[in-house]
């Protein structure tokens, strides 16, 4: 390893005599005057690593001339948590609790792609019960709505419109109430498990979904009314942060950014999983390729997702009482949770069975929970349409109870590469808009 790596996060300008200024919000006019007095033509601005408009901890290095950005570099890694490495030391089931924490705004999409990968390795993809697939689609779509609402809401906030954020977050909270009712948690759910889902939807869930839909739709209408015809909003976003189809293809961009450039590429249509081919929904596209069209697309996708959620509610009603986990007891999580007087815990029926009735059931429960199930050796790639684009996972098994390697292709990681092309030549203020419409979450980018 004699190669000397260039510094990615090192000094942008290798000049010890270059004057440095620090600013923490507020008025920069003194600094600007001082820089002007010194006659510096080339100014490098370091945005972050803790800039509030960066969806996590991102460092953006900008070289500017006046208000124009001449070069942009993104420095990432500040939220690297070693999740992929950690997963190699936990069972296949425990892996769900890790990958759900990567992109914390789209938790369940990651659980879904991981579980689809594990099921492919096990060869049980077709054994997953229908009701489990409906619950998975429901969760994936609620997650998509939540993720898009955060994208639109924080994007508005970053441009100075706090109401956009609060409205979006209220709607997101409505989706969370349903998610919490079914999975027990608002985010980082660990609900989708290899073989199915952790537990069935409780009584009243279908009604809760049906009550939620008009509330979210009304908030979406409100957001659309607030933003889409607003002259300031249009002035800030129209024709800003352009990326055409050729640029998208070169940079491997997927998700709403690719669809804003005119390609209707959506894995839910082109490579359906979990029965997406049986749902009725559209894939909205645009040919403008600018920041405004991406916001419009995210809003439209939310409406489409609500249509899918509605269909999920009907199917849940029709499939009441059907299993939500594969029948194979060597893979299926042994216990079902239930709500007791002291909170959520193991179902009392199950405890009675393993503690009072069957020694073998106790052994089986213990072995499956502590040791886990073995997955035959091999490798697979599974991909789904996450809210932010193509979300993929490469899984390698050595035939044991733990992954040999788990690697996630986070769409944000890939899409963030476009930051340079989106911002160079534009205004400094538009960098914030560009970051908002890429919509990456640094937890997922850095993993």
């Amino acid at each position: 390893m004699t190669q000397t790596a260039p510094h990615a996060t090192g000094a942008f300008v290798e000049d010890p005599d270059a004057p440095e200024y620090s600013a923490y919000g507020g008025d920069w006019s003194e600094i600007a005057d001082e820089a002007e007095r010194l006659g510096q033509q080339r100014i490098v601005v370091n945005m972050g690593p803790q800039h509030p408009s960066t969806h996590g901890v991102l460092r953006v290095m900008l070289e500017i001339e006046g208000e124009t950005v001449t070069e942009t570099r993104a420095g990432i890694g500040y939220l690297h948590t070693g999740i992929e490495k950690n997963m190699e030391y936990r069972t296949w089931t425990q892996g769900v609790t890790f990958c759900t924490r990567m992109d914390y705004v789209a938790s369940m999409s990651q659980e879904l792609v991981y579980c689809l990968g594990v099921e492919k390795l096990l060869g049980i993809t077709d054994d997953v019960p229908e009701r489990a697939n409906v619950l998975r689609v429901l969760m994936a779509e609620l997650t998509r709505i939540g993720s898009h609402l955060v994208a639109v809401g924080t994007g508005g906030n970053e441009m100075g419109a706090t109401t956009v954020m609060t409205t979006a977050f209220v709607a997101r909270e409505d989706t969370f109430r349903v998610i919490e009712m079914i999975s027990g948690l608002r985010t980082n759910n660990a609900y989708i498990r290899p073989g199915g889902v952790a537990q069935d939807a409780p009584e009243g869930a279908v009604q809760a979904i049906r009550d939620m839909i008009p509330k979210v739709r009304q908030k979406l209408d409100e957001l659309a009314d607030l933003q889409l015809e607003n002259p300031i909003f249009k002035g800030r976003l129209k024709g800003v942060a352009n990326l055409d189809l050729a640029g998208c293809m070169a940079l491997g961009i997927t998700g709403p950014i690719l669809r804003s450039a005119g390609l209707p590429y959506d894995l839910r249509k082109s490579d359906p999983y979990c029965g997406y081919e049986t749902y009725d929904f559209q894939v909205p596209t645009s040919t403008d390729g600018d920041a405004y069209s991406r916001v419009v697309l995210r809003m439209e996708e939310c409406y489409e997702s609500l249509k899918i959620v509605e269909q999920c509610a009907d199917r849940l009603e029709a499939s009441e009482g059907e299993p939500v986990m594969v029948a194979d007891k060597k893979v299926a999580w042994p216990a079902q949770l239930s709500v007791g007087s002291d909170g959520q815990g193991n179902s009392l029926d199950h405890i009675r069975h393993i503690m009072g009735e069957s020694m073998e059931a106790l052994i089986h429960h213990f072995k499956l929970v502590t040791e886990g199930f073995k997955v035959p050796a091999g490798q697979v790639y599974s991909a789904i349409e996450g809210p932010k684009g193509l979300l993929g996972v490469h899984l390698v098994s050595d035939g044991g109870t733990k992954p040999w390697r788990a690697h996630f292709r986070d769409p944000g990681f890939n899409n963030l590469q476009a930051l340079g092309i989106l911002t160079e030549g534009g205004q400094v203020a538009d960098v914030v808009v560009a970051i908002a419409t890429i919509d990456m979450v640094l937890g997922g980018v850095d993993r």
């Binding site: 790596a5 690297h80 990681f413």
Partner: protein, 238 residues
């Protein structure tokens, strides 16, 4: 140890793939004992069990796989036999093991030929197989064709002593950060990359953290007088 060898019962060759053995491509791991390496109480410490990746497939491969391999072989001409080392079809997925000298050319054909048209490379995933002598580090490239709606995988294996793989950023610019990440975590050097800098770890970090010989770095936790070791030091079930 001679006794223990009889206990394996697998009949598989010991210590990695033998030369000329086309069926065994990648030795994932060599397991010892019936539990982990630490504190096996089962008395079967002597058990040795090599675990192999699914081996090479024979024609016909099925689905669209034959067509893609045919087109690629035709485009590569004389170099085809040398470039495409193995073709593996497993779990409905096609994996092409490519010799690193020909990776760039294969990538170019995959992207540009109208019958292949794999427009997107979905990154590169490094995998470390310390037991696979001479082929310890693997770079795995999932390729996606939007036109034909297909996905295949390229796999390039190199040794730890010579961890050089040509960069395909000139063909797939989207792979820029992905290759930096794999350099950062596995130490695979992508020759020809425009700026192969660390991306997740700090610039001055020593080592490549996702290699198998790099410790997880957990610390033991004490709870009510009992010490619970970190995950990588616990007795492991396999």
């Amino acid at each position: 140890m001679s006794d223990s060898q009889d206990l394996t019962g697998t009949g598989a060759p010991q210590g990695g793939p033998q030369p000329g053995d086309r069926d065994q491509i990648t030795l994932i791991n060599v397991r010892q004992g019936s539990f982990g390496a630490l504190g096996d109480t089962s008395g079967f410490d002597g058990l040795t069990k090599p675990v192999q990746m699914p081996g090479a497939s024979e024609r016909p491969y099925g689905e669209w796989f034959d067509g893609v391999v045919d087109v690629l072989e035709e485009l590569l001409g004389d170099k085809a036999a040398e470039a495409i080392q193995h073709v593996v079809v497993d779990r409905g997925e096609l994996t092409l093991h490519i010799a690193r000298e020909h990776l760039l050319e294969v990538a170019q054909h995959l992207r540009d030929d109208q019958d292949l048209r794999f427009e997107m490379c979905l990154g590169v995933s490094g995998v470390h197989y310390p037991a696979d002598a001479g082929r310890e580090l693997h770079a795995v490239y999932p390729m996606q064709s939007i036109t034909h709606n297909r996905r295949l995988r390229l796999e390039v294996a190199v040794s730890e002593e010579d961890p050089h793989v040509p960069s395909i950023v000139s063909v797939y610019p989207m792979n820029n950060w992905h290759e930096r990440e794999t350099w950062d975590f596995f130490g695979i050097v992508f020759d020809g990359h425009p700026s192969l800098a660390r991306i997740e770890m700090p610039d001055d970090w020593v080592g490549h953290p996702q290699r198998k010989d790099y410790p997880l770095g957990g610390i033991p936790v004490e709870y009510k007088g009992a010490e619970i070791p970190s995950p990588d030091n616990r007795r492991q079930y396999r």
